[in-house]
């Protein structure tokens, strides 16, 4: 009997040590190491909730260890035994009210953050956000910059310190745009449009991806986000406008075919003839590629891990 108790406490110690070890590495985790105001507000909310919730864990674990250690049935046990004890109004009211208070304390910042996230980030309010249409088709990303008249495939350039207003939609399956370093995700759906505000405060290359499962090429539907100073961004826009080929409808239609493609850049956007965020653009892709969806990629690990070296994106 004593043998198992030793096991039990050993197990608990093991779990606690594991927790501490893992928590110490937390600051390096992408979500907890934000690179922009949106991700930062979400990180703050997560850490705020953790304070309360780790408190709950501490209370429950301590009570649990106390009960199990003290009230084990063993020879020479001195602890009291009251088989008919089955209620205590005061303590029951206390442990109902405390969770209610915790939930209330968590609800208020959750709701304010939710409303904040529907607006462009405040830190760059003096500037209009940059509009980018992010459209997915199995298993690739199209980023259209309507004001700049350019479009990229599978990579994204954004200026720092300026809000980005993503218009999310999909040409076929449901997907989600997620750049963990910059903030949380929203769904891309055919026939409707979601708005997602993100912003980068630091330059750098961040990982972005589709996070919603959509079939065989799902794991490879990733892209790199190049956050750069607004002058560097302007240079990139201009060089793309000047050197990239025009996107023709024929080319676009062939790109919609469900398969993996490399990074590309164009000096015009597909929004000229179709917007998948409207009902009219909802069945555009499946009308054209109905049979292609039946074909399998036979996709193995190791193919297409990256869309080319990060410096040379857009140069097919």
């Amino acid at each position: 009997m004593r043998h198992t108790r030793k096991h039990l406490s050993k197990g608990l110690v093991f779990i606690l040590i594991g927790l501490i070890l893992l928590l110490s590495g937390c600051s390096e985790l992408t979500v907890l190491d934000p690179k922009g105001p949106v991700a930062e507000s979400q990180r703050d909310l997560i850490l705020y909730s953790l304070i309360f919730l780790l408190g709950v864990v501490a209370v429950v674990f301590s009570l649990f260890i106390f009960m199990v250690v003290k009230y084990r049935d063993k020879p020479n046990r001195k602890a009291e035994y009251k088989p008919d004890l089955h209620g205590n109004r005061t303590i029951e009211i206390i442990w109902t009210i405390i969770p209610i208070m915790i939930v209330t304390s968590l609800s208020i910042p959750t709701i304010t953050t939710l409303f904040d996230l529907e607006e462009p980030p405040e830190s760059s309010a003096e500037q209009e956000p940059l509009v980018i249409h992010a459209t997915t088709a199995d298993w690739k990303w199209f980023f259209s910059y309507p004001e700049q008249g350019i479009e990229t495939v599978n990579y994204l350039h954004i200026p720092t310190d300026r809000g980005i207003e993503f218009h999310l939609s999909s040409a076929d399956s449901m997907t989600a745009l997620w750049i963990p370093a910059l903030g949380g995700q929203k769904y891309n759906m055919a026939g409707m449009e979601n708005i997602l505000y993100l912003q980068a405060d630091e330059t750098g290359v961040f990982q972005g991806r589709n996070s919603n499962f959509n079939g065989e090429g799902f794991a490879e539907q990733t892209f790199k986000v190049h956050a750069e100073s607004s002058s560097d961004f302007q240079d990139w826009v201009e060089s793309t406008q000047n050197s990239a080929p025009e996107l023709t409808q024929e080319k676009y239609d062939s790109l919609l075919k469900p398969e993996l493609v490399d990074t590309m850049a164009f000096s015009s956007t597909h929004l000229e003839w179709v917007d998948h965020g409207t009902k009219d653009g909802m069945d555009y892709s499946i009308e054209r590629h109905r049979d292609a969806f039946a074909e399998q990629l036979e996709l193995k690990n190791g193919q297409n891990h990256e869309h080319g070296p990060s410096g040379e994106e857009g140069e097919e």
Partner: protein, 644 residues
């Protein structure tokens, strides 16, 4: 369609599976023939309407499914252990996580719990069987054939690959061509019939067949949790039935409920799925709460703390479970206001759940804890489930959920609640009620080995996944990148620990069957509720004399007062239902009709449907009134069982 299209080809793992299936079925057929057991199988099991035998069949099937879906899990964890692993390709990985999730929820968790309810609930309320024993058999066989239909997909036609949530348009006829997704739809439809019927059956049983004196608020807590669960089933499952039917019509007959073409509403599937799917979570967790309450009270030798509050918190959780489904798609862009409301309702569930946790802890206060294996599972539940619960609150905070959604943080959370809640609960219940089912205990020493391997493996497997999620690892990717390597390899080691724990658990069933001491009394744990008042082996009629209930923990009360429920002078003839092969045959026909529909062989399916209607017609002209067991036979059975 050629044979090469009919059977799945080209995958060595599946060929191995085919060989294994052929060998195992061959061995079973050989053993049944060699020992001349075919008649025994038909008479004692396939045609039985006895709730205890049906319960055992449920649990055996659930264990087999746990093995199947657990193997899926180990294959996934193997593939994710190293960044350059090429054990599974993308397509195969997608099929495996789809079947893993679907089987674990529909064909493992639910039948395991329903199996325990089958065995325990009538005995806890002092009843002799279900209200509708024939319907109970039909429920089991439709579940069983549904599970078979789903499993067949692995070698015939191809497994579904759109995830257990099967979101449209991905799961629609264009992006998931072929029979795979049809298997999902029809297998769930078929087994759903059984679940819905069980819902009504147990509800009526609990309302109408309780022993005299057992008012609702004197019912054992497991019966209460079952009762509430059945309400959730009856209100939630019709939504799934309709959603599955609409998608089936979309796929097979070309309608446009959830399609991209023809003004379909693909997102409506997610809505309908989770309007069922969230209550479903509570369908598999509330009975586990009931099991833990029983086990903790018994082995703490103490009355359950806050019984009434426990009941009301179950009712509250059940009510709230219908008001939170949108939290599965906060990221769909419903807007801040809608998300705020569902965020608050979601977090509100933590309140009654927290109260329950404190009630369990208070039950341990001033108690006398016997650390049997069943109790260990129940004790391990408390801290483990707390971690799952608080991370659930984190996921409920919609603004933060934008970062957690679709990530391994979510995966870690729901495995923490479903394994620490449902699976620990199933194991606790099985170990606890095992002597009632089979007349001997499971070996405690081996049981504790299984326990420690499984529980430690569980934490090693899933704790790192929270951190992987925070590092941006999405669910359902078939390979990892080097940054996620360390935590993934730890997680995989834990998964194999759990696998080993399960293997030891199953070995214990064999070992205990061979070597465990046979039970002499019907009350090996010094139990508190009425199921321990019946002798072991339990006679088919359960109670020779209907017990009269005066207090909570009716049997404990009787033992304190030195009363017994068996009084030979009060024995009267007992009316019992006859065995029947109809539920088995009916469900087998439904299986073939569904199979035909999977392959869109419409005329064969129609023929099957007509045959089902004919068998239902035959059933409605069935005037079998059952039989009576006479007093002498009862006395004899009781004397030998009670060693009088």
């Amino acid at each position: 369609m050629g044979l090469d299209e009919f059977f799945v080809t080209g995958e060595p793992l599946i060929y191995a599976g085919m060989v294994a299936i052929t060998l195992v079925s061959g061995a079973i057929i050989f053993l049944l023939t060699y020992f001349k057991k075919w008649k025994w199988l038909w008479r004692e099991w396939l045609t039985t309407v006895d709730h205890k035998r049906i319960g055992i069949m449920y649990i055996l099937s659930a264990l087999a499914m746990l093995f199947r879906a657990g193997s899926d899990a180990l294959m996934m964890r193997t593939q994710l252990a190293f960044p350059d692993m090429n054990f599974l390709n993308a397509q195969h990985y997608n099929e495996i996580f789809t079947t893993h999730g679907t089987i674990m929820i529909f064909f493992m968790a639910m039948p395991f719990l329903i199996g325990l309810m089958n065995i325990v609930v009538p005995q806890q309320i002092g009843a002799r069987d279900f209200a509708f024993p024939y319907l109970n058999a039909l429920s089991f066989w439709s579940f069983f054939f549904g599970a078979m239909l789903f499993n067949v997909s692995f070698v015939i036609g191809g497994a579904p690959d759109a995830g257990w949530t099967s979101y449209t348009p991905l799961a629609g006829d264009i992006m998931s061509q072929g029979p795979g997704q049809n298997f999902y739809l029809l297998a769930l439809q078929l087994s759903g019939i059984g679940t819905l019927a069980t819902g009504i059956n147990l509800m009526v049983t609990i309302l109408k067949m309780r022993a005299p004196g057992m008012t609702l608020f004197k019912m054992p807590i497991f019966t209460w949790s079952t009762f509430i669960t059945m309400f959730i089933i009856v209100f939630a499952f019709p939504i799934l039935t309709i959603a599955l039917a609409l998608m089936t019509i979309d796929r097979i007959f070309g309608s446009h409920f959830f399609t991209l073409a023809g003004e379909g509403l693909p997102m409506m599937w997610a809505n309908l799925f989770w309007m069922w799917g969230h209550p479903e979570v509570y369908i598999v967790i509330l009975p586990a709460f009931g099991i833990f309450s029983e086990v903790i009270a018994t082995f703490a030798r103490k009355r359950l703390f806050g019984y009434t509050v426990m009941v009301w918190s179950i009712i509250l959780i059940a009510g709230l479970s219908f008001l939170v489904w949108v939290h599965h798609f906060f990221t769909m862009g419903a807007g801040a206001f809608v998300n705020s409301i569902f965020s608050v309702t979601t977090m509100a569930i933590a309140i009654p759940t927290g109260v329950k946790i404190f009630n369990w802890l208070a039950t341990l206060y001033k108690s006398r804890i016997r650390t049997t294996t069943a109790m260990m599972w129940a004790l391990a539940f408390i801290p483990s489930f707390t971690i799952g619960g608080i991370t659930g609150v984190m996921l409920g905070m919609a603004a933060a959920d934008y970062q957690f959604h679709n990530s391994y943080f979510l995966i870690a959370h729901f495995h923490y609640v479903l394994i620490a809640g449902t699976v620990f609960g199933c194991f606790a219940g099985l170990v606890y009620w095992y002597p009632k089912m089979f007349g001997h205990k499971l070996n405690e020493r081996i049981g504790k080995w299984a326990f420690w391997l499984f529980v430690i493996g569980f934490h090693i497997c899933f704790l790192p996944q929270y951190f992987l999620g925070l590092d941006g690892m999405p669910r359902r990717v078939f390979h990892i990148v080097p940054e996620w390597f360390n935590l993934n390899v730890i997680s995989t080691i834990g998964a194999f620990g759990m696998g080993l724990g399960f293997a030891v658990f199953v070995y214990n069933i064999y070992y205990s069957y061979r070597y465990s001491e046979r039970e002499q009394t019907g009350d090996p744990w010094d139990g508190r509720t009425l199921e321990w008042a019946t002798p072991t082996p339990v006679p088919e009629y359960n109670f020779a004399v209907v017990p009269h209930v005066k207090e909570h923990d009716a049997y404990w009360d009787m033992k304190q007062k030195g009363e017994t429920i068996y009084d030979e002078s009060k024995v009267e003839p007992i009316h019992m239902p006859n065995s029947t092969g109809q539920p088995f045959i009916m469900s087998a026909i439904m299986f073939f009709a569904s199979f035909a529909l999977v392959f869109e062989w419409i005329w064969l399916a129609v023929a099957g449907l007509v045959t089902i209607l004919v068998t239902m017609g035959i059933r409605s002209f069935d005037y079998d009134e059952g039989r009576h067991i006479d007093v002498e036979e009862i006395k004899q059975t009781e004397r030998s069982a009670r060693g009088l």
